[in-house]
Every structure is written in C-alpha cells, then in structure tokens.
Amino acid sequence: MLKSVFKGKVWKFGDNISTDYIMPGFTRGETPEERATFCMNAIRPEFAREVKPGDVIVGGRNFGCGSSRPAGQNFVTLGIGCVIAESFSRLFFRSSVSVGLPLLYCKGVYDAFQEGDILKADFETGEVRNLTSGQVLQADPLPEVAMNILRAGGVVALLKQEYGKR
C-alpha cells in the first residue's frame, strides 16, 4: 500500500459474501490473471469484466466468509483500491492484509453507499466519505501491525526485505 487515501467508484455487495464467490475453488491452479476472471462469477458474472482499476468494494456483514484461500488476491489482481465492509470473516481479513489489500471495518457503510457512488477512505484516520452524498463515516483504524504489513505491500514484500537475495 503505497498510499493511504483511496478514492473510487463503489461496487456494492451484501452480507455473507463467500470466498467461494470471490475466488471459486475450481480456479485453484491457474495464473492470478486467469483466476481473477472468475471473481464473483457465481453471483455477478459481469463484475470481473466491468470492474476498473481503482474501483472500490462496499460490503455487508461477514464479508469473505468461508474458505481460507486468499481470495483478496483476486481483488488485488483486478486493481481494486480497497474493501470497506460492515464486518469481515477473520480469515479474509488476515489474508487480505497478507496479500496487501487494504480493508476497513466500518459500521453503517452498507446503507451509506449506493452502487456507483464515489467513496474516499483515509486509512491513517479511518474516515470514510461518500463524495456523492456527502455522508461521512468513521471506521475502526487498522492495528499498527496490520498497517505495517500493508505499507510494505504484503507479507511477501516484508519477507523479501528481510531475506531477499542481495
């Protein structure tokens, strides 16, 4: 995460969006680019085709429930700026931090945004703003340990810093 403020067009999803939707199990073996074409295929087949780099996701409760496969990688591959949801599954939250996908828990975000609104999220302050409606929400800022991983760009980047061939 080279910046801490993200601004983008909202794609809105509801409660209990499973990693089986975000990264279907049958796509295990392909390249990241191939896998990402199946993102949300079961519930919104047009998503992976139409989403643009810099767009953001707004989710409901328990976003990313289900399998531990690091489904956030598909969002990174598609260029999604960040994910803001009412709540996340623990596995999705941690795996997204590990792959370098910024995300915030934010109460009220589901009702505050319509599909297509412009969202601005500041990860240093936790402020989430709907630039279309003017509404402002306060998210829980991430713990420092998670911010450090995101600032580095994910766990692999951190390990490269420490172990990388010189």
Binding site: R28, G29, S67, S68, L91, L159, Y163
Partner: protein, 418 residues
C-alpha cells in the same frame, strides 16, 4: 481474574502471565499444517531465497484437495510439494495412500496435542480444538511468515461459551448440533472469537461428534473452537504420540463475552438449505426435496463413526435408482478401519461409490461435481452457490445419517424413520 482456554494458550505461547481480549501479541507456533500450501511455500521460498523453515519437524506437509491428481496442473503442484519435503528436510509428509484429509490425518498421526497453538493452511483447522488445541486457519501469504519464523501476531479474541445440555439422542450427531447453532445464533455468532463447547452433552458425546463441531466452528466465524481434554481425548492420543503436553481448562472466574445454553435431548436432525450454512431447518420442515447426489466424506463427515452411521442405515438396502451416493473416507486410517469392519462392503453393496480420501467433491474440485439444476445432500461443510460445481446446483448440508437416509429414499429424509 481468571483466563479462558484460548487466553491461557495464547499467554503461554507469548511468554506472558496474563493477557486480555483485544490485546495484540506475538506468539510462538507449535505446528504449521502446511498442507496443500506446501507448493506455494516452496515456490516463494525459492523465489525470495529463504533456504530453511523454522523447524522441519513442525511444518507438516501433505496433499489432500486434489488427490490423486485430477489434472496435469495438480500433478505439477504435487511435484513441488515433494521437492519442498526433500529440499527442506521436512520430517512429516503424507503422500497419496499414506494420509488423506489434513484435519483427519494430523490428529491420527499424533501431531495435535492438548494445550498447543496450531496454524493450518485451511479454514477448517479449527477441527483440532476437539483435542484442546487452539487451532485456526491461515493461508499462504501468512504461512510463508510462519514457516520462516515460527511465530505470528494475534489479536487476543473474546471468548463465548456454548453449554450443551442433555444428551445426544440416537441418530443425532455432532453435525446436527453445530448446524443448530449456526441456524439459531447465526454464522457470525463467534466471529473473530474463541468458542468453547462444554456441558453434559459434550462430556457424553464421542470424540468424533466433538471433532465435527470443532471442524465447523469456522462456519460460525470462530477463530478457535475449543473443547476440554478428557479420558476420550487421552485414550485417542495413547500410542499416537510420545510428546509431553499440558491440557488447559478455563478458570471458573474466566470472563466470557456471552454464554449460550442449548439442550440437545430432543434435537431433531438439522439441514442447512441453499445457499448458506446458517439457512438451517429441522428435516421435518423442509418438505419433499428430491436429490440427485448424496455425498458422505470431507473433513466434516468422513470419519469412521460417520461411515458406520451410514452403513447402519444402508445395510441390506439400495440407494434410490435416481440417486448416486459418493463416499470418501477422510483418511487412509479411516479407510482401513472401515474396510476391516465390513462398513465399506455394506456401502458398496448398497450401490455407493467409495473413493479414496480427498477433499475433492466438497469444494467442487473433482469426483462428484454438480451439473446445473442438480441437487446434492452432503455431509460436508459448505453450501455456497457454486461450491460443489455449477452455480445453478443446490447443496443441502446434513449429518452422515441424514445423507444416508436421503440416499435411500431419494428425497431428504429423517434418519430416525429408517
């Protein structure tokens, strides 16, 4: 102030005498179940130039989601796993024919010890909580860190407690209990929390039933799904490990975010309807639902007791002509025991197709993928749209007994009526 099981384990592994929910700690890991992610760990370690794992006896490697390899790509990943084991001197590796599904194999091989902290590259790692281990899922970006360093950051979770009262009636299984909890309290009730399962019904139920509950702990959001260790736990471990271990119990004055009580004495069989694990109803309330496929297997429903429950129902009967029944014992140990007990013969005589151990059908990888419009009753753990194949298929989740009864009847059926 006392501590819960999860707090005690995290405190001891972090070198602290006391910790509280919400605190961030760095803890030493007792075991990394690297499983299928072994392939990715190998690739990334080679790419970065990390030439050893923190402890080759504590990174357990196996292959389970696609075995035996259904595609050339899957075969290539198995090659990477074997290279990792060879080049990094991994002590425990369970290849095809020696292991099976990780969450069955690790306890069977004596790797899961009470009081330990285990991370596993699969969401159902919460299974090991049945053996009093604080165990939770991770995945390969984070697993690289663990494999290299043997430690990880944690947020100390709040603990909730499920007091399960009464006693499981005949043909009602651990699976019915966890589905009931998911249905009544929702699939977020334990989100990012440690869930403890205690009470008279837990004491009386089999280790296999506890294993199924802990396994699906993650389906109610749990970080850990912990049971106390008792005689049943210790008897299971006898002969499987020589390592010392220290079981933990919650202190009487430990603090809980919430305590739930559930009496299972009259619990009817439960079914999770499409397309969500929390969409649960008693079998009597779902009406006449014909099925095309029935599946008994996975880390949730492929244990010996699960196959035995199915065999009891299928003995002398035939699977309904319109239905195919697929059975996959969760491990080679289960397979061998079911073979020598005559269980597999009973199942095969009933027209079941018995496969080897694999995760295969449950996440829609291979051996029983569903076509559009098909309906499956499954002893596995998830029924999200597209989970077992085509997004236009439907998956109903139930106990192995209910799956077996439904396979015979051709419609979803109460196993107590058979």
């Amino acid at each position: 102030m006392g501590m819960t099981m999860a707090e005690k384990i995290l405190a001891s592994k972090s070198g602290l005498s006391e910790i509280r929910p919400g605190q961030y700690v760095t803890a030493k890991i007792d075991l990394l179940m690297a499983g299928d992610s072994t392939a990715q760990i190998y690739q990334v370690f080679k790419e970065i130039g990390i030439d050893k794992v923190w402890d080759p006896s504590k990174v357990i490697s196996l292959t389970d989601h696609d075995i035996p390899a259904p595609t050339a790509e899957a075969a290539e990943r198995d090659v990477l796993r074997r290279k990792f084991v060879q080049e990094f001197g991994i002590k425990y590796w369970y290849d095809i024919g020696r292991g099976g599904i990780c969450h069955q194999v690790l306890p069977e091989k004596g790797h899961v010890l009470p009081g330990s902290l285990i991370l596993g590259c699969d969401s159902h790692t919460t299974s090991y909580g049945a053996f009093n281990a604080a165990a939770t899922g991770t995945q390969y970006p984070e697993a690289y860190w663990i494999a290299a360093k043997g430690e990880l950051w944690f947020r100390v979770p709040e603990t909730i407690r499920f007091e399960i009262l009464g006693e499981l009636p005949p043909r009602i299984m651990g699976k019915d209990v966890i589905l009931k909890i998911a249905g009544d309290y929702g699939t977020e009730v334990a989100a990012y929390k440690s869930a403890e399962f205690v009470g008279p019904a837990v004491e009386k139920m089999s280790l296999s039933d506890r294993w199924a509950i802990a396994n699906m702990g993650v389906e109610i959001g749990a970080k850990f799904a912990l049971f106390e260790a008792d005689e049943k736990t210790l008897n299971f471990l006898k002969g499987r490990t020589r390592e010392p271990f220290t079981p933990v119990k919650s202190d009487p004055d430990a603090s809980y975010e919430q305590i739930y009580q559930l009496d299972v004495s009259d619990l009817p069989p439960q079914v999770a309807c499409p397309h969500h694990v929390g969409n649960v109803r008693p079998v009597s309330e779902i009406g006449e639902v014909p099925v095309d496929q029935a599946f008994i297997g996975s880390c949730t429903g492929g244990r010996l007791a699960d196959l035995a429950a199915a065999a009891e129902i299928l003995k002398g009967k035939k699977v309904h002509p319109r239905v195919r029944l697929i059975v996959s014992p969760a491990s080679m140990e289960v397979y061998k025991e079911a073979l020598s007990a005559g269980i597999l013969e009973t199942l095969v005589e009933a027209d079941a197709m018995v496969c080897g151990p694999t995760c295969g059908p449950c996440p829609g990888h291979h051996l029983g993928i569903l076509a559009a419009g098909e309906r499956c009753i499954s002893a596995s753990n998830r029924n999200f749209k597209g989970r077992m194949g085509n997004p236009a298929a439907e998956v109903y989740l139930a106990s192995p007994a209910t799956v077996a009864a439904s396979a015979v009847a051709g419609v979803i059926t109460d196993p107590r009526n058979m």
